[in-house]
């Protein structure tokens, strides 16, 4: 452009734009409405859980629910029937839930953590681009598939294996459900841990390697200590997923409310019992039905607390390096 060409600049008009402001307002209002629906529904569910639980605790004292060790929610059809009142002690359910989750974490923690360390620190780009999606396929398998895998493949296998060495393994065992659940949450742990390990700055690795550390010394002494809060957070998230998992336990763990720490026996969990309580026809105001709400509230409280703690840990860790 020749230097002396004059350019026509805009008129200085700033009071009227040519695009309508009301459209912006409508979009914003729509978005607020959408997020409000989600929030309102959540609050509604919490209150419904709360109110029905209160109804339940009018029929069954809270102390029996929280500390009772017998769970047999069968109430009689007629009031004058023998054994008319069910027993609503949730301890065997809680212990069963914890036992299965514990087994699951025992399986998933080392497998998930070591694959995360391998992927983030040792694997080359090629291996990583193959292995990571493969691991994530595990996360895409529907839980019902895991369920019948546990019930029809793993459980008979464990039973046969147990017989081989003279152990009596129940056909629906905590072990089978726990192991399969552990496999299910491996990708959760590996992918979250992989993220936090990757978030450890490269400069720290350089510093450690530059001082003459080996790869494994760097991982043990620098990377893991720096990433441990985030890893703990991912383990807690995985634990809360395990506690809330339903399909696998319904199909593989059984419904017998045994109070036991023996992983070879059948146990039941909070989620499996909720399914059992509400499957089929029942009165809406019986203690049996209402107990499902109390169990739901218990489950909700436990997983909510675990999630909050883990998110807090994970976020705190992230702030450290941003």
């Amino acid at each position: 452009m020749p230097e002396n060409t004059s350019i026509q600049v805009r008129d200085f008009e700033i009071t009227t734009g040519n695009r309508s402001k009301s459209f912006e307002n409508i979009v914003v209002a729509l978005m607020i409405a959408c997020s409000a629906v989600a929030i309102v529904v959540t609050i509604g569910i919490i209150f419904s859980l709360l109110f029905e639980s209160i109804n339940f605790f009018k029929k069954v004292p809270m102390s029996e629910f929280l500390f009772g060790t017998t769970w047999s929610p069968q109430t009689a059809l007629r009031a004058d029937q023998v054994g008319a009142s069910g027993r609503f002690g949730a301890v065997p359910l809680i212990s069963g839930t914890l036992l299965i989750s514990f087994i699951a974490m025992c399986v998933a923690t080392p497998l998930g953590l070591f694959s995360a360390i391998y992927l983030s620190e040792y694997a080359g780009n090629k291996t990583r681009s193959i292995v990571k999606p493969l691991l994530e396929i595990l996360a895409g398998i529907p839980t019902v598939v895991y369920g019948f895998f546990a019930a029809l493949t793993v459980a008979p296998l464990l039973r046969a294996g147990g017989e081989g060495i003279g152990l009596n393994v129940s056909s629906e065992s905590a072990l089978a459900a726990g192991v399969v659940m552990g496999i299910m949450i491996i990708p959760l742990i590996s992918s979250l841990s992989d993220d936090v390990i990757n978030a450890v700055p490269q400069s720290l690795r350089d510093a450690s390697l530059g001082l003459g550390s080996t790869d494994s010394e760097t991982i043990r002494r620098v990377i893991l200590p720096a990433a441990i809060p985030g890893i703990a957070g991912s383990l807690l998230l995985a634990a809360s997923r395990a506690i809330g998992e339903t399909m696998i336990v319904v199909m593989a763990a059984g419904l017998a409310a045994n109070l036991t720490a023996n992983p070879l026996e059948a146990v039941t969990t909070i989620t499996a019992q909720i399914v059992a309580l509400l499957t089929g026809d029942q009165e809406f105001d019986s203690a049996k039905t209402l107990s499902a709400f109390a169990l739901g509230l218990l489950l909700f409280a436990v997983t909510l607390i675990l999630n909050m703690i883990s998110l807090k840990i994970v976020n705190k860790y992230r702030e450290q390096y941003d």
Partner: protein, 255 residues
């Protein structure tokens, strides 16, 4: 100055990143107990050359190094060389201060610990104190050795990284633009420190600041587009460069 012995002798060093050649046949001797500065415009290969000396380039998958680099007469790329042992002898200070998220004491003790340099706690405490004193940081941190190293100021962090590097007592210390993230006062303190450190260590420093090169180093090597253009006594390089490119760079016409 011609009588000084060389600690590092590089001969015909080529470096490739994939297909791209980053260094062309670099031959450079680095004198013992002197400060040698590598200068040149961005992308000229000076940092790449620095990272060849402690084989940090090994960490880059696509990087290939050929040629001959000897430290104290030993070929550091020979197959029997243990990279971990090499790096214990060739310390490095990075561009951005990178203390570990551990206590000040643990930062300095890290190297001696992994190499098993001390027999007991008292020896370790002594070594940590010696390193921090050498790095000119002792008086500032002696009452808070258990506080985290990342809580120090930028200049203090960089001196902590220097203390961490010298705690292993390497023969050579490589510094990759150690002051580029620091303010002028912190820079002046580090430059003074570098001058004192050459009594015990041989130092190679990459710098973008020609004033810094002139202030701290006895030898200077000028890199340009992957080539070593000129090297010699710092004074000669800055007062009577032989090559036109060096002349242009130090007078600010390129770079």
């Amino acid at each position: 100055m011609s009588k000084t012995t060389s600690i590092i002798e590089a001969k015909d060093v080529d470096v490739f990143y994939g297909e791209k050649q980053a260094l062309n046949g670099i031959s450079l001797d680095i004198p013992e107990n002197k400060v040698t500065s590598l200068i040149g415009p961005s992308g000229c290969g000076k940092s790449t050359f620095l990272r060849c000396i402690n084989r940090m380039n090994d960490l880059v998958d696509i990087c290939r190094v050929s040629g001959d680099i000897r430290i104290s007469g030993q070929d550091i790329y020979a197959p029997e060389v243990d990279v971990v042992a090499l790096r214990a002898n060739v310390g490095m200070v990075f561009q951005k201060p990178n203390p570990f998220p551990k206590s000040i004491f643990e930062n300095v003790a890290y190297g001696p610990k992994i190499h098993g340099l001390t027999a007991n706690k008292a020896e370790m405490e002594e070594l940590v104190e010696w390193s921090l004193r050498k790095a000119g940081l002792w008086n500032e941190v002696k009452d808070r050795l258990n506080e985290t190293g990342t809580g120090l100021s930028g200049g203090q962090q960089q001196r902590l990284c220097i203390a961490r590097a010298i705690a292993v007592k390497p023969r050579v210390i490589l510094m990759d633009e150690p002051c580029s993230a620091l303010d002028p006062i912190a820079t002046a303190i580090i430059e003074e420190l570098i001058d004192e450190l050459r009594e015990n260590f041989s130092i190679v420093i990459v710098t973008h600041s020609m004033q810094q090169a002139a202030r701290v180093s006895q030898r200077t090597a000028f890199f340009h587009m992957g080539n070593l253009v000129e090297s010699g006594n710092t004074k000669n390089i800055f007062t009577s460069p032989k090559d036109e490119r060096t002349q242009n760079y130090i007078t600010g016409r390129i770079g």
